[in-house]
């Protein structure tokens, strides 16, 4: 048996990220007393370095390494860049929040970086084992982040719930993986697809595997009926952590959904497509109706996020490269809108006041007209009203699902969009039409945060006027 040294080049960003994060973990214990924000700045620098590494070595070719367990292609690079950009933003928004809430710790950032590493591995996974490895790196880091606020019972409850249900989901997924391996005798995605294509697979075992895998993924994504943890975790977690959970991990979750269903199991499309239809329909309904009665903005956004997952799945239901591309566009735009929405809540939080109830935004137009306008941008974008970018996200997935022949699903989706418009409008309503409860001026503690959040929110409008670029990101890398 001869041993060939694998090529490390495709994985350099991950290797650099791992090395620097490990170093930072050690350094943090030493310098955190002396230099207060050193870990924060180091985190941002590491992200910039990793982003630059990906950007400079960007390739449209598909390269696999480590015996076919790791893949680098345009899809992976674009998603990783998006994860880096979003993480830069969310760490920026989190810092002041953590200080205000008095639990600023270096571990938040190092755990965050490990979680980013996990997402990278998920995005580049090319066999079942790598995928599982990445998923666990990401999830374990996030469980800890949710529990970081030890004195806060809601956060601890959320962490426990997240952990237990997350473990259950992982169990489902692993069970599915083992059956898949049993049925095909392969772990690598392309080999698996080839075996299934050749028709040498016991279909019953394969179907069961698909069911378990889809359930596991649905748990991770928070699709109905596996969504119970989402509102509690979003609500209970400190806002900075909610910001984290609600954005970048969605991209990674979409990536494994794509890798598993579209790359490994295209031959089982008849098995997973109906499952996705059910999940999508239920998610759309819950995401449209339940937020109407929510008074906590984090909970509202959590439920509305479930609806967005329903939309995202529409693209996958189309089950062709264009459909996957539209789902990718949706994911990127949704993660970015999540950054804007949760980012705004995060930067507005004060010591002892979370600013996460819908009522907190009452009279925002009088207290801070500029930030009210930014929130208006975010809400209308999420509602899918042009000219904001959220509109195009919905248009591309609905277009693909119409092309795939599911016109009824498209009609259902637009009806759910109309219903959801109501609760987004409600937020705008309290900001613009209601009298403020207290006249205290609302402003982020630090001036630069206003600029940063405005940049993100205005981008929703600018990309909405010139959406070509965002749409091309998805379509050029997948179809």
């Amino acid at each position: 048996m001869n041993f060939v040294i694998p090529s490390f080049t495709p994985a350099i960003p991950e290797i650099v990220l791992l090395t620097l994060t490990s170093l930072l973990l050690v350094a943090d214990t030493m310098w955190s007393k002396r230099y207060e924000f050193a870990t924060y700045y180091a985190t941002q620098v590491i992200l910039v370095i990793v982003g630059a590494l990906i950007l400079t070595s960007f390739t449209t070719e598909t390269v696999t390494t480590f015996d076919g367990s790791f893949v680098r292609d345009a899809f992976a690079d674009i998603l990783k860049l998006a994860i880096v950009v979003i993480s830069l933003g969310l760490f920026l928004f989190s810092k002041e929040y953590l200080l205000q809430a008095k639990f600023y710790r270096g571990e938040y950032f190092t755990l965050g970086l490990f979680s980013v590493l996990g997402m990278f591995v998920m995005v580049s996974a090319h066999n079942l084992i790598t995928l599982y490895l990445g998923l666990e790196i990401m999830s374990l880091a996030i469980y800890t982040m949710v529990a970081m606020r030890k004195d806060h019972s809601a956060a601890l409850e959320a962490a426990l719930k997240y952990f237990v249900l997350g473990a259950l989901a992982t169990g489902m997924l692993l069970y599915g993986f083992s059956m898949l391996y049993g049925a095909t005798g392969q772990v690598a995605f392309d080999a698996m697809a080839a075996v299934i294509d050749a028709g040498e697979v016991d279909h019953v075992v394969l179907s069961f595997a698909v069911v378990f895998i889809v359930i596991g993924l649905a748990f991770k994504l928070g699709a109905v009926p596996f969504h119970m943890w989402v509102p509690d975790v979003y609500h209970g977690a400190p806002t900075a952590v909610t910001l984290f959970i609600g954005t970048a991990p969605k991209i990674a979750a979409f990536a494994i959904l794509y890798r598993l269903l579209a790359e490994a199991l295209p031959g089982a499309v008849m098995d997973w497509q109906p499952l996705l239809v059910i999940l999508s329909v239920l998610s759309l309904l819950v995401g449209a109706l339940v937020p109407i009665v929510q008074n906590n903005l984090k909970r509202l956004l959590a439920y509305s996020g479930i609806g967005h997952i329903g939309f995202l799945m529409l693209g996958l239901i189309a089950a062709n490269p264009d459909g996957y591309a539209s789902a990718m566009v949706y994911t990127l735009i949704y993660a970015f809108m999540g950054l804007a929405a949760f980012g705004l809540i995060t930067v507005l939080a004060r010591t002892g006041h979370e600013f996460d109830r819908v009522d907190d935004f009452k009279g925002m137009n009088q207290r801070n007209p500029w930030l009210a306008l930014m929130m208006l941008f975010v809400m209308f974008s999420m509602a899918g009203i042009p000219p904001f970018i959220g509109f195009y996200a919905k248009v591309v997935v609905i277009e693909e699902v119409v092309q795939a022949g599911f016109v009824w699903l498209a009609v259902l989706a637009v009806v759910s969009a109309v219903i959801s418009a109501f609760y987004y409008l409600r937020v705008v309503k309290v900001m613009y039409f209601d009298a403020p409860q207290d006249t205290m001026k609302v402003e982020p503690v630090a001036r630069h945060l206003t600029w940063a959040i405005s940049l993100v929110a205005v981008a929703l409008l600018v990309f909405g006027l010139f959406p070509s670029w965002v749409i091309d990101l998805g379509y050029h890398s997948l179809s």
Binding site: N365, P369, L376, F380, I385, P386, P387, F391, Y392, V395, V396, I398, E399, V402, Q403, V407, A410, V411, V414, V415, A417, V418, A421, F422, L425, V428, K429, Y432, F433, P467, S468, I471, D472, Y475
Partner: protein, 504 residues
């Protein structure tokens, strides 16, 4: 081209950019906000005049066309152009805008810059709706409009403004999403989002019916037609005066415009099969809503219902085509109804705008719109009384005013299609006269009702100018409508050919 810039893009983007500038720079500077908004509105109106002057009325082709790729992946273009159907509506928009800005001059005290900014942005988008030749571009403008209007009604409106504005938004949004699905389906069939490509796209019977119904929901909500009209009285009553004017004078026209730009040419066979549906709904609107208007106690509500009734003539005129062709065998005979509908749209823009401005004048002084709170206003406000009677006559369709021309043409055409349509429509002229004149009688004539009315001051110069300009427009169009009809003549003929050529 004006100053080397394409004219339609200038008309869209100049107000939008000016609106944004007012929004950001006008804070704490209400005077600047007002003057700048007025200046830009006047400039926009002047820029729009070459559309009329340089318009070539001998062709139905699109003019002043601009086309650049916008979203390559889906073959979506930034494609603008006007023909005889849309050009008058663009001018109506730029014209109304000047009056709208002027009408709010002393009235709006709170957040003037947001108010003016919202109206300016909205103007650009409305022109975008009338000039877009790509369905996605059209949809973007169509939907984006809701955002400023939502804020305007909700922020500067009356007591129940929040309910009214949410209802307005959700109704309209609900209507339009089905249109979007229709667009996406047609893109899937034709590979293009171009409206002119849709006109040429062959569609099967079922597809046409479904698309027709999707369009019908979208446009019926906007016009509005019975039974989806209920948002309009609420929105009108709660909206500030200028908001009501824009709603009635321009936004309602978008529904009518939608029928001639989308429904009739894209789904001619379905339009023919289902024309009875639209005609019945129109007749109900004309007749029944006219009766509803009669019993209103609130002036604004009365005019709102009267708007629905008058817009019924528009939809009636448009869908008479098939009945007339069936009776007389030629498409050109139907031109009368279609032209009547188009003239009625423009005329209603002037008249309803004037009516709402009139109520605004009274409301600014008395802070009530109850008819019973007034009486004998003409004694204290003679000039105002003069204009009020003129506009009321126009609303009732008196010959010599613009209200007569459109309705008369539609009624003539409806006799050609089916005598009973004509009878019902003509009978409504009586009802229209009844509710309008009865309101005028109760508000303006008789003895001075109370002390407050006794202290009313007549129109100031600004109000006089606004009323005077509108009165001029109403009479001019009533006495000499020929130029307007000539401009749209060829386009209407072309539309009739499209609407009567089967796609099956």
């Amino acid at each position: 081209m004006v100053f080397g810039l394409p004219i339609l893009s200038t008309l869209i983007w100049l107000p939008i950019l000016a609106g944004l500038l007012i929004l950001f720079a006008g804070r704490e500077r209400p005077t600047f906000a007002k003057w700048f908004a007025l200046l830009v509105s006047v400039v926009t109106f002047l820029i729009s005049l070459p559309l009329w002057v340089q318009f070539d009325a001998s062709t139905a082709a699109m003019q002043f066309v601009e086309k650049t790729p916008w979203i390559d992946q889906f073959n979506i273009h930034y494609h603008l152009g006007v023909d005889g159907l849309s050009m008058p509506l663009v001018l109506l928009t730029t014209f109304t805008q000047v009056l709208v800005i002027a009408s709010a001059w002393d009235v709006i005290k709170e957040r003037v810059e947001q108010y003016m900014g919202a109206f300016m942005v909205m103007q650009g988008m409305m022109i975008g709706v009338f000039t877009a030749l790509d369905s996605i571009l059209f949809y973007v403008f169509w939907e984006a409009l809701l955002i400023p209007m939502f804020i305007i009604i909700g922020k500067w409106g009356g007591k129940d403004r929040v309910y009214a504005t949410l209802k307005f938004f959700l109704y309209t949004f609900f209507g339009s999403v089905f249109m979007l699905v229709g667009f996406l389906y047609m893109y899937f069939q034709s590979g293009s989002f171009g409206i002119l490509d849709f006109h040429l796209l062959p569609l099967g019977e079922l597809a046409q019916i479904l698309i027709f119904l999707a369009f019908l929901i979208a446009f019926a909500v906007k016009i509005p037609m019975v039974p989806v009209h209920t948002w309009l009285p609420d929105a009108h009553v709660q909206a500030p005066t200028a908001g009501s004017v824009v709603l009635a004078a321009i936004m309602l026209k978008m529904g009518g415009y939608g029928f001639v730009r989308f429904s009739l040419p894209i789904t001619p066979d379905a339009s023919m099969m289902l024309d009875w549906l639209v005609i019945i709904l129109s007749l109900i609107a004309i007749f029944y809503i006219g009766l509803v208007a009669m019993v209103q106690k609130d002036m604004k509500k009365l005019v709102a219902y009267s708007s629905i009734s008058h817009m019924g003539f528009v939809t009636l005129g448009m869908f008479l085509v098939y009945g007339i062709v069936a009776n007389t065998g030629e498409a050109q005979g139907a031109a009368l109804g279609m032209q009547g509908a188009m003239v009625q749209m423009v005329s209603h823009g002037f008249i309803s705008g004037a009516m709402f401005l009139m109520i605004g004048v009274l409301y600014d002084r008395m802070h009530t719109r109850e008819i019973s709170a007034y009486g004998g206003v003409v004694n204290t406000m003679p000039w105002f009384g003069f204009f009020a009677v003129l506009f009321a006559m126009a609303n009732a369709g008196l010959p010599g005013t613009s209200g007569f021309v459109g309705e008369f043409m539609v009624i003539l055409a409806s006799f050609k299609a089916n005598v009973w349509y004509g009878v019902v429509a003509a009978a409504t002229l009586v009802i229209g006269a009844a509710y309008t004149l009865w309101m005028v009688k109760r508000v303006f004539f008789g003895p001075v009702a109370n002390e407050q009315v006794g202290k009313l001051a007549d129109l100031n110069k600004r109000e006089f100018a606004i009323m005077g300009i509108l009165a001029f427009a109403v009479v001019l169009l009533g006495v000499y409508p020929a130029p307007l009809i000539e401009v749209m003549d060829v386009s209407v003929a072309n539309l009739l050919i499209q609407a009567t050529t089967s796609k099956l």
